[in-house]
Amino acid sequence: MPFAFDHCRITRKAPTRRAGNDPKEEKMTRRILLSAGLAALAGLLTVAETAPALAQARAFVSNERDHTVSVVDVDSLKLIETIKTGRRPRGITASPDGKLVYVCASDDNRVEVYDSKTYKLVKTLRSGPDPELFVLAPSGNPLYIANEDDSMVTAVNTENNELVAEIPVGVEPEGMGVSPDGRYLVNTSETTNMAHVIDTTTNEVIENVLVDSRPRYAQFNHDGTQLWVSSEVGGTVAVIDPKNGWKIIKKISFEIPGVNKDAIQPVGIRITKDGSTAFIALGPANHVAVVDTKTLEVKKYLLVGQRVWQLGFTPDEKQIFSTNGNSNDISVIDVASEKVLKSVPVGRLPWGVVIVP
């Protein structure tokens, strides 16, 4: 509360006594200073009240069962808006400038684009059948969409809604990751158990990496030196080296005291920009694993809501949000202290989250 301190400073200065002053004058001066202080405080309070209207980080959470997107203010952690979307919204991402939010309306077979300030639908994009997850190229165009029923990855131009490419991949494609330079696109296919590496210049699969059963999610680290792929049924996360023939460096496995091994199903992955820490959502295990990216060992398990699915950093990366599908809420994790701060109710079956500045 900086304004409170400012006010203190003003009022503290007020009683300074000068020798030889008339007591009445001094009283008057005090009054003037006090009222000035109060006016300043009132002014600051007004500024503080109007401040939320200015741009503040907001989390957009797709609620699969409610067909809505919940908007949560990141500072107050209050639900500020619920946007009605197409049926079964799952994958959710934002444009690089944070002005647009893309939502996969899986059962309506389209991608909906919302204005992140007005929460209005701006346009819809073609998606191919049953889009579940997508990834935006680092430049903001095109959008790569996994078509679960079609064994296909569809690339769509976000400007003019034109189909850029349709790339055949394995059965039940889902996870989508793109390298920071935009050169490589990685898709995981749930039934084929592979991560397919696609060269975005030719839109062709150049490498297939066999991982553990039911790969769900692919995530590059920020310098593109590692690719992390989570396997839901296999219960592991494969760390792959893109610079060395896409070889698996290590498969990280998990063990949580008091939790059945079968319940540990890694899904969403996020890695900090400094590349030091990875957070992995462990599905029905109701925990998020914190992994040291140097040693590739799990440092800690954090208890969150039920069936934790996807994760999203705040723009300053001080916090990471998890969507907890079965408990219908999101949990807020402090990145520095690696502690869960709070859980906030959203819509039913929250699936994915993106936070815009």
Binding site: I256, P257, G258, V259, N286, L303, V304, G305, Q306, S327, S331, V332, K339, V340, L341, K342, S343
Partner: protein, 282 residues
């Protein structure tokens, strides 16, 4: 001749009261520290619950968020305030029951020759008991901190007034009970008939909504158990929050138990005289 009452009053100055209370507290602390077995058992008892009992139920509460918690917590975090209250319950009863021992060996006679009013001596005895329980509670919290039972830093301070109040309630309850015993009886009977029922029929081990789900009669019992409110008062205070209803219940029970104890220990009106305590022999 206004000197006489003045002189009489000057015999018992405020500082004298404080010296008297400090003396009683000091005696209790020395007794506690010298009884290493008691110190160890006071610490080991809740830790066994925390390390062994709570470990088995580690993730059992990951289904609902109840105030003062803002997110999902492990069972060991939930059970910690209950264990703190358990420390105070054991300590309150043990320290008050030591009055029975004092009465038997004659130490109480020495205490009662003090010119200070009896209610003050009883209160001092209570304060001494609370001080000892605070030592135990903070030692427990320090160990529990390494076991991922971490309250917000301010909580370790805000829990102090709650501990004082709950300590007062449980201690005065013990005092009242101790006035009913003629001899130092087997502590096991107190454990069986007071400590365990109070501990198990409270929100110490399970949240009340869970108790209500599984057994409605038990839930009613929990609602009428003052120990429940001591646990909840401590639980909220440990997270920097104030729970007014629990505070009111605990304060009310403290007053009732304390007045009861003072009356019971009053040689002219109390149970002690009637039951043949040291004063009755006079």
């Amino acid at each position: 001749m206004s000197f006489v009452p003045n002189r009489a009053a000057s015999r018992l100055p405020l500082s004298g009261y404080l010296i008297c209370m400090a003396g009683i507290c000091w005696r209790e602390s020395l007794r506690f520290v010298n009884q290493r077995g008691r110190f160890l058992s006071a610490l080991v008892r809740p830790l066994v619950w925390l390390f062994i009992f709570a470990a088995g139920f580690r993730s059992v509460l990951g289904v609902s968020i109840i105030p003062p918690y803002e997110t999902y917590i492990l069972y060991q975090v939930y059970v910690a305030p209950g264990l703190i209250a358990m420390i105070q319950l054991f300590n309150g009863l043990q320290s008050s029951l030591s009055m029975v021992y004092d009465r038997e060996v004659g130490a109480m006679r020495i205490l009662l020759v003090s010119p200070y009013p009896r209610w003050f001596l009883l209160l001092s005895k209570l304060v001494a008991g609370i001080c000892v329980s605070l030592l135990q509670v903070y030692a427990f919290l320090a160990i529990a901190w390494f076991w991922e039972v971490e309250a917000p830093p301010i909580g370790y301070l805000t829990v102090l007034p709650a501990l004082l109040l709950s300590g007062l309630m449980l201690g005065s309850m013990g005092l009242l009970m101790s006035s009913l015993f003629r001899q130092l009886e087997n502590f096991a009977s107190v454990m069986n008939f007071v400590i365990f029922p109070m501990f198990f029929t409270s929100s110490a081990l399970y949240p009340l909504w869970k108790v209500q789900e599984s057994s409605l009669p038990l839930w009613y019992v929990c609602q009428f158990n003052p120990f429940t409110y001591a646990v909840e008062l401590i639980r909220f205070a440990l997270y920097g929050q104030f729970e007014p209803f629990s505070a009111l219940v605990v304060a009310g029970c403290s007053i009732v138990f304390l007045i009861g104890a003072i009356i019971a220990y009053d040689p002219s009106a109390g149970l002690m005289g009637r039951r043949g305590g040291p004063d009755a022999a006079k």
